[in-house]
């Protein structure tokens, strides 16, 4: 066997095997379970009944809506924060390095710790934010951010943006630094204002990165479980019950594993649909595969 072939096998066989064991097998197993009633007990085959039940259940539209709101708002905000900051750091600001260090830190922190921090800050009783807002007279009494209907989702989103803003930041910063500075200079010589250069040069260059961030981060946030579970458990009054939270509830508190896996299958289908439309419309994998 020649060396080329050997390396080809050496690079792909382990990877393919690995994916087969830790991704494909569990996913197929889970999809299989979604066709059974009580799959972990006295399993009986029910076909797509679990799917039908989930899709027609009262809560489904609401959970879907929550998921979309959460995924979209946290992704878009992360993007905006990351973009703003990347533009700032790209301006050769002194202290930019410190800022970069600062930004990467939240990303590396475990969600558990992030939630501890934010719960502590936003807590109505121990929370520093409430303490100061009340002290300064902004609020009359503390707000329980994680447990009031209108604040719970924003609070979860803020914590998510805090943790994940740097993902967009780093990717965008790298792209910004890859733009040929002569393009800006040419634009200035041609008479373009700062805003025009941003619109006509910066944004088009960031397009690919922005699309990838929206897709990848969006999918991750849609599937995000721990940040919500650890902070609100989906409450209050299901205000933050997203589909993954619902999957957990179905699986572990309602012991409806067929339903849980069916819902996961539906989520997968939805994301795949979004992804396919996305692939068609923007061809972001050209970024990957070019």
């Amino acid at each position: 066997m020649d060396e080329r072939r050997f390396l080809l096998l050496a690079t792909f066989v382990p990877v393919a095997g690995f994916f087969a064991v830790v991704w494909l097998a569990p996913i197929l197993y889970a999809l299989g379970m979604s066709l059974f009633d009580n799959p972990t007990g006295a399993a009986s085959f029910v076909g797509v009944a679990n799917y039908a039940d989930i899709l027609t259940s009262v809560g489904f539209p609401k959970y879907l809506w929550n998921s979309v709101v959460y995924a979209v708002s946290s992704t878009v905000l992360s993007l905006l924060v990351g973009l703003g900051l990347a533009l700032v750091v790209n301006q050769q600001v002194r202290g930019g390095n410190a800022l970069r260090t600062l930004m990467i830190f939240p990303y590396l922190l475990p969600t558990l710790v992030v939630i501890f921090m934010w719960k502590f800050i936003l807590d109505p009783n121990l929370g520093v934010l409430n303490q100061y807002l009340v002290q300064w007279g902004v609020l009359e009494s503390p707000i329980a951010f994680f447990s009031t209907l209108q604040w719970a989702m924003p609070a979860v989103v803020v914590a998510s943006v805090w943790k994940f803003g740097s993902f967009a930041f780093f990717i965008l910063l790298a792209r910004l630094q890859a733009i040929d500075p002569n393009l800006y200079e040419r634009a200035r010589v041609e008479g373009a204002s700062t805003w025009q250069s941003f619109r006509d040069i910066t944004l088009p260059h960031l397009r690919g990165a922005i699309l990838i961030i929206l897709l990848v981060r969006g999918i991750w946030m849609f599937n995000k479980f721990d940040i919500i579970f650890l902070s609100t458990r989906g409450g209050p009054l299901e205000a933050t019950t997203t589909l993954p939270i619902r999957v957990y509830q179905l699986a572990f508190s309602e012991v409806n594993f067929g339903g849980a896996t069916a819902l996961a299958g539906i989520m997968f289908f939805l994301l795949a649909l979004v992804a396919v439309v996305y692939f068609r419309a923007f061809e972001p994998e050209k970024e990957v595969a070019n």
């Binding site: 060396e3 390396l7 080809l8 690079t11 990877v15 690995f18 994916f19 064991v21 991704w23 097998a25 569990p26 996913i27 197993y29 889970a30 900051l85 700032v88 050769q92 600001v93 002194r94 202290g95 410190a98 800022l99 260090t101 600062l102 830190f105 990303y107 590396l108 922190l109 475990p110 969600t111 558990l112 710790v113 992030v114 501890f116 921090m117 502590f120 800050i121 520093v128 303490q131 805090w162 910063l173 790298a174 792209r175 630094q177 890859a178 990848v216 991750w220 599937n223 721990d226 589909l243 993954p244 699986a251 996961a264 989520m267 997968f268 795949a272 992804a275 994998e285 990957v288 595969a289």
Partner: protein, 291 residues
């Protein structure tokens, strides 16, 4: 803290006002974000290093530390298995980081250097691998690991963690290898170096920023993980720090002080990485910047 570097290449001609407005806006944004990022961290530290009775004295939270106390850390280290949990975390994080990086390097190299049918399919498969909600994988994975007799092993947790991080690290290395000129390898081949040797002598050293940032990502995933550790590890002495902490933190005897102290300990490795490896990280992100 934030000032413009004067006279840098391509810096503006003094267009006084416009310049000043822009500068102010930039510095303000930077400050705002810095504050937004720093405050939670500061609060964590402030609570961690005060004894609970001084942190909460008088019914309000003391953010200005006037007396340092390591009481919280003492409780953690003597009354809980924190050291053991840390050890476990370090073991699985290190091995998963290593495995994920190796897989990413192998796959990334293969994908950029070999042409074969189904490459695009593979590109999409990697992206699609993100799309299945990880929480439902808990039960199937548990079943698989149980069947294989791998529960409560570092090995199984390493695999599971790698499963989460690998799609992204592969994508990253794939991108990165595209920026490593193939001419470097060809020049080594022409000089008589075998492909394998070329990988050691040329490809890996040149790709270092790439795989360091891939490593940092897998570190983040592993160190952050809660779900997979919960799936694989069921014995107390095998818990990772996140699982362990989540358990002892709901004890009656443990309060916010210890919680923040534990958080602070957990935050130390990420902090070191952010401090010392950020340049590599940025370079790693800079895929596409060199093409």
């Amino acid at each position: 803290m934030f000032e413009f570097g004067e006279g840098a290449a391509g810096s503006y001609v003094s267009q006084a006002t416009q310049q000043r407005v822009k500068r102010t806006a930039v510095v303000l944004t930077a400050l705002l974000v810095a504050v937004f990022v720093t405050i939670p961290v500061y609060v964590m530290i402030a609570i961690a290093v005060q004894s609970p009775s001084s942190a909460f004295a008088g019914g309000s939270v003391q953010l200005f530390v006037d007396s340092l106390s390591f009481e919280n850390f003492r409780v953690l280290l003597t009354e809980t298995s924190t050291p053991r949990y840390f050890f476990n975390s370090i073991v699985v994080t290190a091995s998963s980081t290593f495995l994920s990086t190796v897989i990413a390097v192998a796959a990334g190299y293969g994908l950029t250097r070999f042409d074969f049918t189904g490459k695009t399919l593979m590109a999409r498969a990697v992206l699609f691998a993100y799309m299945f909600s990880p929480i439902v994988l808990a039960i199937p994975l548990y079943v698989i690991f149980y069947t294989l007799g791998l529960l409560n092993s570092y090995f199984a947790l390493t695999l599971a963690l790698t499963a989460i991080s690998a799609p992204f690290t592969i994508w990253l290395m794939w991108q990165y290898f595209q920026t490593v000129p193939i001419a470097l390898e060809e020049s080594a081949w022409v000089r008589g170096a075998s492909r394998t040797r070329t990988i050691w002598d040329v490809v890996l050293p040149v790709a270092r920023p790439g795989y360091i940032s891939a490593a940092i990502f897998s570190f983040a995933v592993s160190w952050n993980d809660f779900t997979m550790a919960r799936v694989v590890m069921s014995q107390d002495e095998m818990y990772t720090i996140t699982v362990g902490a989540s358990l002892f933190l709901d004890r009656v005897s443990i309060g916010w002080g210890e919680t923040m102290a534990a958080s602070l300990l957990i935050a130390i490795p990420p902090f070191c990485i952010a401090l010392f490896l950020q340049n590599y990280l940025l370079q790693g992100f800079n895929v596409g910047g060199l093409e």
